[in-house]
Symmetry: D3
Subunit: 332 residues, 6 copies
């Protein structure tokens, strides 16, 4: 993204010129019969409504303007009923190539990618079981494409950690808890748990599309991430001569069972302590992220979040002890 | 099995000598304090109760006698309260090697294996899509071990087609119906349907153990047949250069979704007409087999079968028009 | 419908005069405070939006104009944002009697009614069991009102085959598959299956209202089609002296159980092979029709249909092998 | 039953001669190899175990002795571990004709049948709506077979009111509550409610077999009591010229919906106040009967009943205020 | 509410001046770009749409105008498409203190509060068990705050009896039915039932907020009314020396179990006859109220109500016998 | 328990004299008609079958001998079919008072009680929030009865930690994990979590009876442990002047919601991060205990445990890496 203002920093009266992502776009007709263009435009810092009242001001193909494309716009910031919006003087479709770095237009993990990759590498190095370490190195260190995708993908389309880098951040958070759980429940095989956490969602790099808006790929809809990653694991294991079949089975079992219940898409229930643990910590981490985000959400006010679909409930946002700045104190 | 009488052919007063499989075995004590051995012995033709009243007549290790082993027994057939049973004079544990051909001791498909294999080969030859034919040939013709296992395995532990050869018989029966369905619903891709039916349960050859009594293998319990066969398909596809990714996905989708609902162990729902069809025909074939068996069952009498766990209901056994010999007229 | 253009054939700039069905109708007020009339108008070939900006141009009673009535309109076709719409100069309520043949205004089966009735009669003639043939003749041949309604009704309000003639088309399609299934599973009583298929949904002729928009009748909502058709069967049977009670029970059982599960409105589960088969083939036929329609739907593009409520999933529209004209090759 | 002692009145040392119903019968073999006959024998007052140690004392066909037949026995009452049992000297199969009045051998309502029939007739007379009164008279007064069966049948096989006369007793109890409910909720149509209660379970007279042990008939298993009684109502209505269709629908709706939920076998949900009321009062009456019986049950002791399958819970038997004789104070 | 017209009594052309509650409030922009204020305004007698086309006519803080506050408005009644609406000349925020008696702005029970309180007191006096009477007096007579809240609260946010006084009306209606049920099922302890009914929903006075629009309090969302009232009961019992522990348990059991099923929020199932009865009568009373209201609803026409979320079905509004004035004949 | 051998240490041929708990007791009759007494006797170290062949050797009241009482027995250890059993020469009922220390007869936590209590006290001391510390001290330090019960009770009747001291051990284990989770998810209020864990199951001290065999108390069955502990918390809070209402609500919310789902008996869902965490860690800890116990269980052999009702599955007992002594390496 070239030099342009962030949406979050705009004030009434500002002029704006630059690229923005169209999240919604619709031609509407006023009661007088004149057409206008109503948009919701976003960059990674936020979004606002925008209107172009004279559609003759659109440059190029009108039909190229729809949801999920970039626009080049020029206009000024106005205020309506207490909310900022943008009155456009010009708008045109912009090809992806013009726009450059996409990540400036999408929500992204608060943790720097390089820091997360370094933490990941350190965890792989810490694995003492040579077979497990070999498998993790093959997938996350030596396979450059997968490593890159693993660092970029979100953890879900919308349920939790739905931002670029979210999959890696979610994985590392579970690994942190898993490390602690293995110190507590000493009967657990720590390396097996680490393998299970690393691999449990890696198929999401192919299940989800996240180059632009988040969605499901064909493979994601037809096969699901559990089937995808199961295949990758088996293929990677197949290239490691002598990899023990028992270990392969135990790892695959964790991956296949990590949704915890058949009706959530796991074809088998967790039947080993390691599989049970990975299921619980994965579920807990996703739900806590959702709760803390609802508590921190500055767009909400009052004791209760709005209804949260991922949790099927509202979240109680009042913290004990009640502090001034809830946004500071929550989650690492 | 060497030359010995079939259980089904025994009559009161017959002497018997030979190998039988112990389905149940328990040492009991009479009220007088004397021990005796109570057995349920079987061959492929049936089973009966047997008693050895003087345990000193046991040769060799008493503790080697338990469920699921073969015994060498000698005794005579008596009748008690209208049922035949066997009074044993001698009994000893018999190693598998002594027994020879196991299949004489297990329920087996009524269709000859060679006939079924020939039908299978004909169906594979009839596939016009070269990729699909290549995949099926690789798994069911060229892979001798899998071909042999596919001809031997039951279709389930106990729910339906639970006998040796049952998996192949069940597969061929669905294929027959699938052929007819493709002639009826002409929008269906017949070759894709054939592939889906052939592959939908092939993982049961590794999910189930059926060398002796029927059960689940470790891999069966930990991974399930859907995950097993998905891996095999991907591996076989990987050895066919140029195999179209779209086709691989469509085939895997049929396999992954064929249980029809998440809570039945399919991680995805059927989302193509071919996947939907395979699910319905598989389910229908299994349930019809159970119903017809309940209707034919000579051990039952009256209008109603006993409660059938696979169907979660009783089956109405009266046929319309009411005929003398229900056992003849049912199922091909 | 007198001589007027089909909606599907209209082009921008065309003048239009004729009857159209109002699917939606609402008086709205513009920001300036002037009222206008916004409509969605349809004939059997399609629908489009229409606007009447000056409500003084409405002839007759304004309040008579609402959803589900016919209108007589005059106007011209305009184009807005790539979609055709109609700008009305005049509009008035039109009584049903004026309109004439309703079927010109509703979606209708692609199969000619007479062809379907002939196929139906042939099937009834093919029944060898005299009692069953007698029952089917009484209901579908000799009862002229029921025969007419059976040829006209849709198979459902919106789930599948939701068009005039859909009930008959759906019934014949299941009968085609049932014929094939009886050739495959030879233990089935083919005549009993034929009776079950013919009768399983015949109550929909009274459960649904389909003279205009599709909905439920009072009897449909209070009793449901299963209770309705059960009564009709019993009444028809009552007029056939000597009809065997056993057969009456077996037929009623198929009808009562054909939804397959209690929670889907069947008071009993299928307990005979014939009842089981009818349930599966009915369910399969309805769902395949929905899938093929979603695949053929020209209003959609891309690999995936929009979310389909009848199937509770999206449908994968890409066919293997990928062809140019999917719309030709699907379903007979 | 001719002149013979009631089981409930037997004491240790008594001689006994007479007919008893065999609820269970099995030939067993002792550890010494001798056969004996073990029985559970009952009359309407109770049951006890019985043994015949020498099977040569059986007169007639040994195989005729099995569960659900009458036996003619001679023996003496002994006591074993605090419980009475019977040591038999003789036993033989007894044909039904010999036995005479069956009702002496089955549990029976505590309310006299004639009293209940009189109450029923009074209620029918109290109906002011002539159509409803006509329908009820046709079924319960003029149809002698149905009247007799309605007075004899149990209300369920085992869940509640499972004794002869139980259906009528249950129906009258609901009617009593319904009368009171209609006085309270004055918007209810009392006559419609009365019709619904009378008819809601009348099909049980054909769903259940209760001539001997309680079970389901073929029609009961294949169609269910709701379908049976719906047919009877329609048939009876058909014989009343001019019976209003609206009323027929409202009555049938109550009957069809009275199980309250689809998964409990009602094809439609209650959609009128009268249907809702009948569902609740029916359900409540059945469950209260089960609870009060569990509280009164003299075979139990302690605060808690054993697990009750009809309620899927244990019942708390302690009453407030705690009295000496719980058996007196409960239920009318 | 000072002297002002009721919404129900307004006619086209009337001038209006007074306080109204804003149920909805939104600033909108017309296609011409001018802002206007769209409102839904209500008093206890009804609601209507209102528009203020020139927002400069708003007095005071524009942002103070939002849903759930009172407004002081001046305008005139117009008619649009057959419905009355209000064209405002002036509007301003009004503080609660100005408005005076809130109850004039909310739906309220048709029964006078004093009459209901008198009935309640009579019922408490009729309790013969001194412990139970003492407990009820402590909560509903001696605790003035609770008595006042109990007389004011609705029975639910929106499901049934959702109006001021609804909780007391609902409670008294159940008590009426309970009285009749205890006369019918004589094994029931009437005083225990009375206690259970009185207490089963009393926690709703703290679970719900109903000073303005109806909603849940923090305690309501975090603890629920069952936990709230359980605590109050225990606290009140704690202040009555010698209160029998057995009785306390039986009362708490009724309260805890009155939702009847765990998934409806009862931590235990009803295990006494009294608990079972209270559950059924509570459920029945709420659902009947909803049904009768749907039948009486003058805003609806036709045989069927619109879909009712509380019942998850539509209600059949046609009454038998069909009368002219359904609104008169229903519910006491 | 006075000086007597532990059951686990008995060998064939040993004489035995002492007290044992009768887990099962039945008078049986042999085929010869002689009565004998069959028992299952236990102490904390194990159980074995016992027989008294001559019931005249019973001293005192025969009827006093039944399940759940102590017996004084004298006999010798024999071996039958590889298992030890006891042949009794004498037996008599023994009053509890004779037996002395009950805990010698029940399974007990492997962790010493004093050590656990010290750990508990340390954790309470570590709480920095004075209100929370005060509440925990009031219940677990100052209330001697509750402290004693909390140290003695099992965590469940049979599902997990079903042994004396199990509740405290389970609580401390969750606290250990909770401590680690709060270090990881820094937005959590650690003191609130500690309170929630301490209190979540404390009501089990009154829900369960564990003086003898484990069962439910009347209060347990009628109210459940969640209602019991909610009341205790409110009562304890009531004695701490100034305790903040917000904090009371947050603590009660954790307790009420800790079963995580309504159908598992929580009347509300977890709506705060702390409540969510306590639910997950509680559930995980119980299930892991069950899994590790199944893996360690010396009575089992092979890769798979028998079906485990608490988990509704079998547990895979093979550990990776496969070690000789699984029983050593598991769980702290």
């Amino acid at each position: 993204m070239p030099d342009q203002s962030l949406i979050r920093n705009l004030k009434e009266g500002d002029a704006f010129q630059g690229f923005l992502l169209a999240q919604e776009a619709a031609y509407k007709v006023s009661a007088k019969g004149s057409e206008y263009l109503e948009l919701k435009l976003s960059d990674a810092s936020g979004d606002l409504k925008a209107f172009l009242w004279d559609i003759r001001a659109i440059e190029g193909d009108m039909d190229a303007i729809h949801a999920d494309v970039f626009l080049r716009v020029k206009g000024s910031v106005t205020s309506y009923n207490g909310r900022l919006q943008m009155k456009l003087d010009k708008a045109r479709f912009a090809a992806d190539a013009e726009v450059g770095d996409f990540s400036a237009f999408f929500p992204v993990s608060a943790r720097p990618v390089l820091e997360m990759l370094a933490e990941m590498d350190g965890l792989i190095d810490s694995v003492r079981d040579p077979w497990i370490q070999g498998l993790l190195r093959a997938l996350f260190v030596e396979n450059g494409d997968l490593r890159a995708a693993f660092a970029l993908a979100p953890a879900a389309k919308s349920m939790h950690h739905a931002y670029l880098g979210g999959l890696l951040e979610h994985t590392l958070s579970i690994l942190g808890m898993a490390e602690r759980a293995c110190a507590h429940y000493r009967g657990l095989n720590r390396d097996l748990v680490v393998a299970g956490v690393f691999l449990h969602d890696v198929g999401k790099t192919a299940e989800l599309s996240y180059q632009r808006s988040f969605g499901y790929t064909d493979a994601g809809n037809l096969l699901g991430h559990i089937a995808l990653e199961s295949e990758w694991i088996s293929r990677a294991v197949g290239k490691i001569p002598g990899f023990p079949e028992e270990l392969r089975m135990q790892i695959l079992h964790i991956v296949l069972s990590h949704h915890g219940r058949l009706e959530f898409g796991s074809p088998v229930l967790p039947k080993t302590p390691e599989a049970l643990l990975v299921h619980y910590l994965d579920d807990l981490d996703g739900k806590l992220e959702v709760m803390f985000r609802a508590i921190r959400d500055e767009a909400e006010s009052g004791s209760w979040s709005s209804y949260n679909r991922a949790l099927d409930r509202m979240v109680y946002r009042t913290r004990w002890p009640e502090t001034d700045s809830t946004s500071e104190s929550v989650q690492k």
